[in-house]
Symmetry: C2
């Protein structure tokens, strides 16, 4: 069975879920163009998720993907938080604000309550990042007929996901923007480029493999298929589409030469994610052990980010971006989706 048959789509193109940078509008445009649009739910309340799912149902009858994070919510650690806030104190003083001046972003894992809301929609595809939910929850999702995808950043993770029963695996090369899906290790030296990771996962598992990381155009799609992928997941290239909700400073960074220099950073959420190098990453180093555990690191940054963005500065913003921003253009998502298959 081809990936297109498995997912019920025309093209083997998945629009990568990008929490914070898109909602239903981008997903709908990609679905209606023949790809698999994705709704990222990690930063949505359950009510907001439901509203977005209704919007998708209203505007497309094509299959779509609903994406969730699967992290374990950490216990708050007052000492670590204090160290982190002390590190940020000079910035508060510089901007003349207090840490509580903006609400902290929340990132919730998939839960029974989310499954309750999702069930009536029975989306064709549900994808997970940072591993998989508990077995009973996964069973519910599969039970109502959704195909399940999940991200692997190593061969070991791919084998783990296959044993757990996923229908296809997203091989997330280190070029990819946003959060690394890494879940069996915390050692970033395990993270390989798409050219190395993809063929090794293809060889290791029987389920279809979807390539992610550095794929920005039709040549990238062809290369991924040549390496044995059954399809691709493309994120960064969609960030400038009018249907994306990418913020103003983020769009400006993507349009600039700065987009050529990204790094994996844990500063904005507590987990490693790839974004355009900015002031905070330069100042503290992109990986800093002082950052609180995911997703708590972002809390103390919220007020700084809000104030700096109001001044047109991206000093404290997560500018998620892969290592290949060469495909970023301000064209409709449908046109981009079709171009990827040319």
């Amino acid at each position: 069975m081809t990936l297109q048959e498995l997912l019920g789509v025309e093209f083997p193109i998945i629009q990568a879920p990008m929490a914070g940078s898109q909602g239903s509008e981008l997903a709908i445009a990609v679905c209606n163009a023949g790809g698999l649009g994705s709704l990222p739910c990690a930063m949505l309340s359950l009510d907001a998720m439901q509203t977005e799912l209704w919007a998708i149902r209203a505007k497309t009858d094509k299959p779509f993907n609903v994406n969730f994070f699967c992290h374990t919510t950490p216990e708050p650690d007052a000492r670590r938080e204090a160290v982190w806030r002390k590190l940020l104190q000079p910035y508060y003083e510089e901007l003349g604000i207090a840490p509580g001046d903006a609400p902290a972003p929340s990132r919730a894992p998939f839960s029974a309550a989310a499954a309750d809301r999702l069930e009536s929609f029975k989306p064709a595809v549900v994808s997970f990042h940072f591993g998989l939910p508990a077995a009973d929850l996964l069973k519910r999702v599969k039970g109502w007929g959704s195909k399940v995808l999940a991200s692997a950043t190593t061969v070991a993770e791919a084998l783990w996901l296959e044993r757990a029963g996923v229908d296809a695996i997203i091989a997330q090369g280190v070029e990819a923007g946003g959060h690394r899906g890494i879940f069996l290790s915390e050692d970033l030296t395990t993270q390989a480029g798409t050219f190395a990771l993809l063929p090794q996962i293809v060889r290791a598992v029987r389920v279809p493999v979807i390539a992610a990381g550095g794929i920005a155009d039709a040549r990238g799609v062809a290369a991924a298929l040549a390496l044995g992928a059954s399809g691709v997941q493309v994120g960064t290239s969609y960030l400038l589409c009018p249907e994306a909700k990418t913020g103003a400073v983020h769009r400006a960074a993507l349009r600039s030469d700065r987009a050529a220099h990204t790094a994996l950073t844990n500063l904005f959420s507590g987990r490693p994610a790839r974004g355009v190098m900015n002031r905070l990453m330069q100042d503290l180093g992109p990986i800093n052990t002082a950052a609180p555990a995911f997703p708590l690191a972002g809390g103390a940054l919220a007020a700084l980010r809000k104030k700096a963005e109001s001044l047109g500065k991206d000093d404290f913003s997560s500018l998620w971006c892969g290592q290949n921003a060469g495909g970023c253009r301000e064209i409709p998502a449908a046109a981009l989706t079709r171009e990827l298959m040319k």
Copy 2:
């Protein structure tokens, strides 16, 4: 003009020069199979280089590549050396040896003296790593007709090399084994995977681009060509060939599951290079600022390496390897070269 025409070879396959792991024998086998064999000279005395060049001339009439490093030899720094030796002291004690118990490996940059010896051979191709030699030296090499290749690890480096007059650029993705060719920056976050780096360099320059990093088999070659490469450079896959001089503990690591976990490390030479994770890398962290400047870091390790290897241990050995060791097999280099084009 195709890369094959530029280099005078049948296949657009360059066997990556791998100093310390191969000499003329591997280069000859690849040349006679239709690829471009390479002789790495960084760790050879001028006499040894000349002997190897005679050997190549005697056994093939095909074009071949002679490779040099282009670093600036650092001033010894007694304080830094002392810190480094102190860090290694527990290992000397454990193995019951003294730092001077083995000669330090030397890595010399391309020089006028090397050019004097090279001139009579007028190799079809000369490739450089860590930038390029001084303009007068480069002019000499081009003057006698050698085509010049050099490694770029960023778009900025590719543009720099093109302006300096190279005939083709090797885009070295972060997956690649051995030393990073990085020369305009010391910031490792600038290093991108092949899927991202290759198409960006292809778009930026007019000269042919050779893809390196993670290419292990015919699928990898096809993918690189799909991304716009004019050819590929393959290293790791040749390391188990009988014609390679890969050491015993290095071969054992490449044959094992451990080869799946590599990291960039500066411990063995002072410059970042990718190798299989081993004890020293685990103990000190793969990147440690205490390591002396390239190529001096290896000096204090030589005795540890020699003693440990005599015990069958690779604790202190540089186990250069890319992120995709999936192509490593004990087959003749000629067979591997032909398989890459299948």
